[in-house]
Chain length 183, copies 2
């Protein structure tokens, strides 16, 4: 069934974020978890307040996200993650992350949260969940001259492969359950 | 010392949100908790992409917040709350909340999160933390013909008075500690 689902959904061309949002809607409506994508941070410069109609933002700029894309609550625990896609087929370039996102995840992890990244290798049609500590390991090594990407083999060996499913489309909380068991 | 701090800071005319943001910055930089205000949700209609400069949003509208203002992690637990100010002196009008905010808090509470509201009675210069379940009690009663506000006495008897302090300015996680003890 899982293989068929992958075939069905993989061809729809949903972005990873859409796939996650759909899964989060399922988790929410089934009272399993409350996890939302944060609004895009915007720096507002000019707003018009027309009479008898809604305030209109006339000049604004996209700010750099200082945190990750998703957070929420599952089984009382704080969940925090970012979703990334890559067209690479053998490794995931660390340039997909900004330093402030890594710092945010380190802060959350330190405060007892469960932090990870969900990476989709688009051309392989494979999605992995990788614990933040594995990401930090490569990130910190890069800072001291190490490799600038995480090899696919690390995702295969240390990560959690997330097979497409029907409901939820991406059952990534199954991987979180496994992480929680080891806490 | 607490009384003096109240005198000092109370006169600065900070909004409750500014006071909470300042406190969150203290909690973050001291590795106590990671709690951020969510970006304002915006519906973007038109974006210009000028050559050689940043994308400019030319038409956008404020969306209704579907969740609360603040969330984050403290001692591994998911924290979720909204901050509200009132100029009333004897009660807090429930019209300060939107139904979707209440629903969001109910969902988070149900998933094991710690949810509450922080209410500032501006003219009394008093700040209270009230557990979400106390808020739900009044909200649900209102739906069935009950009173449309929460009396000050409920805050005094069931809530947690938050006295101004130096660092953090509003030590609201002290109240959260007390809530956690009773879980
Ligand atoms: Mg992302
Ligand atoms: Mg608010």
């Amino acid at each position: 069934a899982k293989v068929n689902a992958a075939t069905v959904y993989g061809k729809r061309g949903m972005s990873l974020e859409e796939e996650i949002n759909t899964s989060n809607t399922y988790y929410l409506s089934n009272a399993i978890a409350v996890i939302h994508k944060k609004p895009t941070p915007i720096q507002i410069v000019k707003v018009d307040y027309p009479k008898r109609s809604a305030a209109t933002i006339r000049e604004a700029y996209f700010s750099k996200a200082s945190t990750t894309d998703y957070n929420g609550v599952y089984k009382g625990k704080y969940i925090d993650f970012d979703a990334k896609e890559t067209t690479n087929t053998t490794s995931f370039p660390l340039s997909n992350f900004h330093e402030h996102q890594i710092n945010h995840m380190k802060q959350c992890q330190n405060a007892g949260g469960i932090c990870f990244t969900i990476v989709k290798f688009v051309k392989l049609d494979k999605i992995f969940l990788l614990k933040a500590e594995d990401l930090f390991h490569f990130w910190d090594n890069k800072e001291t001259g190490g490799r600038k990407s995480i090899p696919l083999s690390t995702f295969e060996e240390n990560g959690y492969l997330i097979n497409y499913h029907i409901n939820p489309l991406i059952p990534y909380l199954d991987a979180v359950d496994q992480i929680m068991k080891k806490l």
